[in-house]
Amino acid sequence: MAGIAAGGSRRSPFAPYLLVAPGVLWLLFFFVIPIATLGKTAVSAQGVPWYDGFARAYTSYGVHFFRSFRYALAATLAGLALGYPLAYVIAFRSGRLKNLLLGLVILPFFTTFLVRTFAWKTILNDSGPAVWLLVRLHILPEGGQLLNTTMGVVGGLTYNFLPFMILPIYVSLEKIDRRLTEAAQDLYSGPWASFRKVVLPLSMPGVFAGSLLTFIPATGDFINAELLGSPNQQMIGTVIQNQFLQVRDYPLAASLSFVLMAIITIGVLAYARVLGTEELA
């Protein structure tokens, strides 16, 4: 400690700036410059007004934006419904199995996202096991399909982002002081009331983080819609990828990326307002 204090007296006035310099440079190179380049591309369309890409984002691709948010929202809610109970069990009820269960949650990451999604193509196949079972259970009509439907895409999104929902919720549940639930029970609260009044509120930061980690990448995802959807399930990410790589209309693709970023930023700010960020895990 003495050394640091001694150093303090000789500290140059630039020290704080030097300390933040790596972070600032990182942001400059990997955020500001790419975004500026993207912005320049967005407004550099030839032979049309500069805002043409943005106008088309509304006129031609409004439906894709709307669909992307709908699918991402559905995947987030489904992820929450599946992920919360699982995180709860791992945090409170798994005993010695805790590490094993956490390992299983992370296990899918050992293969790439793309291969896993490809595997779903086989599982959801018209002649595959999932359709066979659901038809036998009369959940799907005879000749029904899962592959290349909305169900397929939302299912794929849910599956792919589920670990991002489970892990933050698990962390916030794990942090809860067990004595609080004991106290609640001492004060005559039943299991449901102690969950609703103690555990759930204290786990909200995890729910908040998990929803964002699911919703944001799911909105921009382009692989699930491409592999598991039909042309009527194309999401905005698929459109952007197509415009960049196949049609090669860079200004339009860049404009669409900007609009997507803007909508997500505004949405997240609003969400943070409602749920509060100071408790963000």
Binding site: S60, T112, F113, L114, V115, F118, N125, D126, S127, Q145, L147, N148, P217, G220, D221, F222, I223, S230, P231, N232, Q234, G237, V239, N242, L245, Q246, V247, R248, S257, L260, M261
Partner: protein, 399 residues
């Protein structure tokens, strides 16, 4: 924004497809291993191999002319037999990597465009792309000219394709195979024989139909179904065809717009009807012998896929050796045994009759006059026109 690692969908699909075609794959590996071990020793000992018909000696001479003894080829799936690559390696000693990673012209072009623009290597010495994309590659200056002194068999190209508008004298591109675009279907799923293009719009097949992302194939075929000729079509014809395609997409009739990957879905039974390339179906017979390809009564599209050398290739001599090898009629016939398309090599038909008399009579490799009369080549589009056609099509397929 999502940050996903860039991926190689075509390669992955090819991988999945190879796994499906296990029998073919095992054949291929066994052949490759066998010929590598024995073939090269034997043939080197014989000094060129006397069983190789005419051209065998020149091929060896070409290979001796220098350059690195390796070759990287990108081609479409289901487009070669199992013997050609190992035989070529044995005959020339050129280590050949043959990759089936071209799934769609635009998709492949998007991958190679940036490096070629900057003059960087794309690790390919030969790529195989369709006529219209070949024209674009030449226009953009992305190709290395052929060294005709290493390519004596070039004279075997059928006369009708020697002076195409986009490459007079064939200085940069030469056909690999030509093919027809028609209807591929699974009679078990359709419940009847199909003869008309408009059968793909039959509501009975709703959600069981795929069309190609290749604009000229899909739009051309739909135009034929509407009684228009793609060889002389107008913008209005394209609008009408695209409106029909869009309607079929919105109504859910069309399940997917695909590249060569329709093949896996057709074999797996996910789709009943596909706009399909003529030779693919036979390659799928190992998985599903019921599948059928038909040139619809209204007509079918004709195209050529061309070999070309990216300007950044450093193995030009090897690339020329390959082209010289496959332009030997016997070798071209050998390729057709594994990929029943149309060879553009003079004498390949006769050579094929010696290897496989039945196949040589098939309309897939030797269309009778009645079918030839129904084949159409999509008209050459000027750049501005191409943009208009593409925009219409992109809108129709919802991309």
């Amino acid at each position: 924004m999502s940050k996903r690692e860039p991926y190689d969908e075509a390669e992955l699909k090819a991988m999945v497809h190879r796994a499906l075609n296990r029998r073919d794959f095992i054949n291929r590996s066994a052949m490759a291993a066998g010929s590598l071990a024995l073939g090269s020793a034997l043939i080197n000992a014989c000094g060129g191999g006397k069983e190789a018909p005419k051209g065998g000696d020149t091929t060896a001479a070409v290979a001796a002319a220098g350059g690195a003894k390796q070759l990287h080829i990108s081609n479409w799936p289901l487009y070669i037999d199992a013997k050609t690559v190992p035989d070529f390696e044995a005959a020339t000693g050129i280590k050949t990597t043959y990759t089936e990673d071209v799934n769609d012209n635009n998709e492949f072009f998007a991958k190679i465009e940036e490096p070629l623009k900057r003059g960087q290597s794309i690790d390919r010495d030969i790529v195989v792309l369709t006529d219209w994309m070949a024209a674009r590659m030449i226009r953009l200056g992305y190709l290395a000219p052929f060294d005709d002194s290493l390519f004596p068999n070039k004279a075997n190209l059928v006369p009708g394709l020697r002076d195409v508008s986009f490459d007079p004298g064939r200085k940069y591109t030469i056909p690999w195979l030509s093919g027809m675009t028609g209807i591929g279907y699974n009679p078990k799923k359709t419940g009847r024989e199909l003869t008309s293009i408009n059968d793909i719009f039959d509501p009975k097949f709703k959600g069981k139909v795929t069309m190609l992302t290749e604009m000229r194939d899909t739009v051309g075929l739909v135009m034929l179904g509407q009684g228009k000729d793609p060889t002389t079509c107008t913008l209005d014809d394209a609008k009408a065809a695209c409106a029909k395609i869009k309607q079929a997409r919105v109504s859910g009739q069309v399940r997917k717009f695909t590249g060569n990957d329709y093949a896996a879905d057709l074999a797996a039974g996910n789709i009943a009807v596909a706009i399909a390339w003529s030779g693919d179906i036979q390659g799928l017979a190992a998985d599903n012998p019921d599948l059928r390809w038909v040139a619809p009564k209204e007509g079918a599209m004709l195209y050529s896929d061309n070999m070309m050398i990216p300007k950044t290739s450093t193995n030009i001599a090897s690339a020329m050796a390959w082209m010289n090898y496959v332009y030997d009629p016997a070798h071209s016939a050998q390729i057709v045994t594994g990929a029943p398309y149309l060879s553009d090599v003079v004498g390949a038909g006769e050579a094929l009759a010696k290897i496989d008399a039945n196949l040589a009579k098939s309309e897939l490799v030797n269309p009778p006059e009645s079918l030839r009369a129904r084949l159409h080549v999509f008209k050459a589009l000027a750049e501005a026109e191409e943009t208009q056609f593409n925009q219409l099509f992109q809108d129709a397929i919802g991309a």
